[in-house]
């Protein structure tokens, strides 16, 4: 059976590269006796596939991935979560129902949009230059929306980007460096809040929202 799951990556774990994540879940799953289905071929490995790539150095709250197992219950999910290394947590998961054509599509098809929070180190609130730069990206069609938001107490900007498998967070950072707003990644505080379904009018005052893939689609409709 196929599971769709979400995880968060916090603290220094954000520097564990995307390419190493399948093994993080495979090993933690093995410790938790998750009954993985194995891939075929010479080196059978647990069948796990990840959502859109997340560059290192970006905390993430709800990244999607899929795993194929022989059986599943919420207790197994709890055990698996306990066996993850520091910084990683499972934040949700469900069995993809068989025979539902919408759900059965590849994971990347379900990742319609990503929502990121962005602020500049050392600035108490987003500068007009930063807002102008991001709005320029929106007007050029690269970003769907730019709105005000908070990271804890810190005012920041929320950017929603469509097709995150093609448009990663680097898209937001490059123009900031080019325009001299920041020197590099070290000056940017960037969080990926969610990757998932694009919804309209989900929250007050916001035209768009992104719903993580931590529970079946129907629950949000």
């Amino acid at each position: 059976m196929r599971l769709r799951l979400t995880y968060s990556k916090r603290g220094r774990a954000c520097f564990i590269p995307h390419i190493a994540i399948p093994s993080v879940f495979a090993r933690s799953g093995a410790r938790a006796s998750v009954p993985f289905q194995l891939s075929e071929g010479f080196t059978p490995r647990p069948r796990i596939s990840l959502g859109p790539e997340l560059p290192v150095g970006i905390p993430a709250l709800s990244e999607p991935f899929e795993a194929w197992v022989h059986s599943f219950d919420q207790e197994m999910l709890r055990r698996w979560d306990e066996c993850l290394p520091p910084g990683f947590s499972l934040t949700g998961g469900y069995e993809v129902p068989e025979g539902s054509p919408g759900e059965a599509r590849a994971l990347s098809k379900h990742c319609e949009a990503a929502s990121c929070l962005l602020a500049i180190r050392g600035e108490t609130s987003p500068s007009p230059r930063l807002a102008a730069c991001l709005e320029g990206l929106r007007d050029a069609g690269e970003i769907l929306s730019v709105t005000s938001a908070f990271m804890g107490d810190r005012p920041c900007l929320r950017c929603i980007v469509e097709t995150p498998s093609k448009r990663g967070p680097t898209l937001l950072v490059k123009p900031l460096v080019e325009e001299g707003i920041v020197e590099g990644w070290g000056d940017i505080l960037l969080v990926r809040e969610a990757v998932g379904r694009l919804v309209r009018g989900a929250a007050e005052g916001a035209e768009y929202g992104v719903v993580p893939l931590s529970s079946p689609k129907d629950e949000h409709r």
Partner: protein, 624 residues
């Protein structure tokens, strides 16, 4: 939602560093920092990158050993790559431990492992980044004590001015005793604590010992206080691995490391007696773990770590007395776990190949063997008990079992080597092709040739090492030969040789004395970092450092030493007697073999060669 990670002082540095995953820990299996009665805090320091250091079994053992002691606690640190070093310096941030971010200068004890001579400048980098004075004599009461263990501690003199005390031999008992002494001498002066430590067998405090150069080169070791000759400092060896400390859990990394697997040690020590091999000489006697304890431990570690591979480690795993039943038991015990069992070192014989053929997980990829020398004559000189018949049978078996990629390791510059011996390397590849033709197979043969480094505590410790020019000429000769055979049209044969500059520098420090310490310091000050990595190594920089300190590297590497010359490691009893080493050297000169003294299969083993290994169960009077 708050994001405290952005307040982490290391965050901006990590975003700017190459491979930041090296510095973030994020391992499964770490244990919480201890509070309560203030424990002796030790930082295990590995003078190379994380991915190398995390592949080292020693720190896995020592980490859990120290955690198990009620009076001590432990953390780890690895050497930052030069880019992070620069970032730390630019922001005046100290080097900190990987788990708890404690500045390394705030520990009670920092313990380096010396696995490789070309990592010595990294020791200095780490001390300096921690704000700890490089020279032992300049450290104050608030600075940590600095110790060093591993094979490099058995030739300690090049590092003597930088290290407060050396730990000789197995750490399982020694480190616990050292930490006990430190726990009992809390509040005492550095000097008093070092005095107390010097009473522990296996501890060598270089500041208490004067090294006096001797007229016929080499030197004598005298107690500074009394001017009397020091006794031999004995390497510690645990007697029984089954009863020695062995962890029931391992630290599992989240980012890829070099040997990403569960390391299980089948036995320690080796009596094959290869005359170039330091590990085989300084880890005697052979101590095997029982198969039952290995299977039980392997099962436990597979379940607890989730690692997908189990490596059966030792100096020559096929020599383990119970290797066949062990592999069968492990295969059946782990059948439902999707775990690959691997034998990283295969002997060149049919037995080993048949063993590998039985292991489903070994059947992928190629096979690697180390004949070490190209002719029977030279293999006899180095006591590598591989015959041409072994070679043929091994290749026949490998090809018949379906392997077609074979990698063969050799050395060049071995004592007494001639062009014929070098030609023999390429001849062996041709022999392999001929075997292939007979079996209607077309193997790919990769030859890898490393420059020979004479090591201390081996029968070749008196031999001269080939110069950079000689090694390069040998390498080119071999390359030309490999290219010219079969009209240069054989793309199934490849030959690589190591660039010789690093080999020679390794050779200098492998047999160095205290006079090399200023060279090390000078090279480090001039920017020497990660000398074992070709992308960072600079030979010119090192040659400048030798020039400026007035030290001639050739005196260490390229000089034939005499029997009576004092050697800068004569005060260290590493496991075999000097007279045994000299007898072996003489046998090498005459091309005589010294067969293994262990019983193998139907062969009852040779008689004892009198190597002098302490507590050897096979020595006369102790046998059976």
């Amino acid at each position: 939602m708050d994001f405290p990670e952005f307040a982490d002082g290391m965050w901006p540095l990590l975003t700017g560093a190459k491979r930041p995953s090296r510095y973030v820990g994020c391992e499964y299996g770490t244990l919480p920092e201890k509070g309560g009665e203030r424990p002796v805090r030790m930082c295990l320091a590995f003078p190379d990158t994380y991915e190398i250091g995390m592949s080292y079994l020693g720190f896995q053992i020592l980490y859990f050993l120290v955690k198990s002691l009620p009076y001590a606690d432990v953390d780890r640190v690895y050497c930052p790559w030069p880019d992070l070093e620069e970032l730390l310096r630019a922001r005046s941030l100290p080097l900190s431990s990987i788990e708890n971010g404690r500045p390394v200068g705030q520990f009670d004890l920092v313990g380096f492992t010396l696995q490789y001579e070309l990592s010595y400048t990294n020791v200095l980098t780490m001390l300096d980044l921690a704000g700890i004075p490089l020279l032992s004599e300049e450290r104050g009461e608030k600075d940590p004590l600095i110790c060093a263990g591993g094979p490099g501690a058995l030739t300690p003199e090049p590092l003597a001015p930088f290290v407060d005390f050396f730990c000789l031999g197995d750490g399982e008992e020694l480190l616990a005793e050292v930490l006990k002494v430190l726990s009992e001498t809390k509040g005492a002066t550095r000097q008093d604590r070092l005095s107390a430590l010097s009473e522990v067998e296996g501890v060598y405090v270089p500041a208490f010992v004067d090294y006096c150069p001797h007229p016929d080169e080499g030197g004598r070791f005298l107690w500074k206080r009394s001017n009397k000759d020091v006794p031999l400092f004995q390497r510690r060896a645990v007697q029984c691995l089954d009863s020695a400390f062995s962890p029931e859990m391992l630290l599992v990394p989240s980012a890829g490391i070099v040997h990403d697997r569960i390391p299980i040690e089948l036995f320690r020590g080796c009596t094959r007696g290869c005359r170039f091999c330091q590990a085989g000489m300084v880890t005697r006697p052979v101590r095997e773990r029982s198969p039952d304890s290995l299977v039980e431990r392997a099962r436990l570690l597979v379940d607890r770590t989730g690692w997908e591979e189990l490596g059966l480690l030792s100096l020559a795993s096929c020599d383990y007395s119970h290797v066949v039943p062990l592999i069968r038991s492990l295969t059946s015990a782990l059948a439902d776990r999707n775990v690959k069992i691997s034998l990283p070192s295969l002997r060149m014989d049919a037995f080993s190949v048949l063993l590998a053929a039985e292991m489903e997980s070994m059947r992928r990829g190629g096979l690697t063997f180390a004949p070490e020398a190209g002719t029977q004559r030279l293999r006899d000189v180095i006591n590598k008990g591989v015959t041409e018949e072994d070679f043929d049978v091994c290749l026949e078996t490998a090809l018949s079992k379906g392997w077609d990629r074979i990698k063969l390791y050799f050395m060049m510059g071995l004592p007494g080597e001639t062009d014929k011996d070098l030609e023999g390397i390429v001849d062996l590849a041709e022999r392999a092709f001929a075997i292939g033709r007979r079996n209607r197979k077309k193997p790919r043969i990769a030859l890898s040739v490393a420059g020979f480094v004479p090591k201390a505590h081996t029968p070749f410790q008196w031999e001269r090492q080939s110069t950079v020019e000689e090694l390069r000429a040998k390498g080119r000769f071999l390359k030309g030969l490999a290219m010219s055979r079969q009209g240069g049209k054989n793309n199934r044969l490849s030959l690589k040789y190591h660039e010789p500059e690093q080999t020679v520098l390794e050779g200098v420090f492998a047999r160095g004395d205290r006079a090399l310490a200023p060279v090390l310091l000078e090279a480090w000050r001039r920017g020497a970092r990660f000398d074992g990595w070709s992308e960072t190594f600079s030979y010119d920089l090192w040659m400048d450092a030798f020039d400026r300190t007035g030290i001639d590297p050739a005196r260490y590497a390229h000089r034939q030493r005499t029997k009576n010359e004092g050697l800068p490691w004569d005060h260290i009893a590493a496991g075999v007697s000097k007279s045994f080493l000299w007898r072996e050297k003489e046998k090498a000169d005459r091309g005589l073999l010294s067969p293994d003294c262990r019983p193998h299969g139907v062969d009852q083993g040779a008689t004892c060669h009198g190597c002098g290994a302490v507590a050897c169960p096979l020595a006369p009077g102790q046998r059976g």
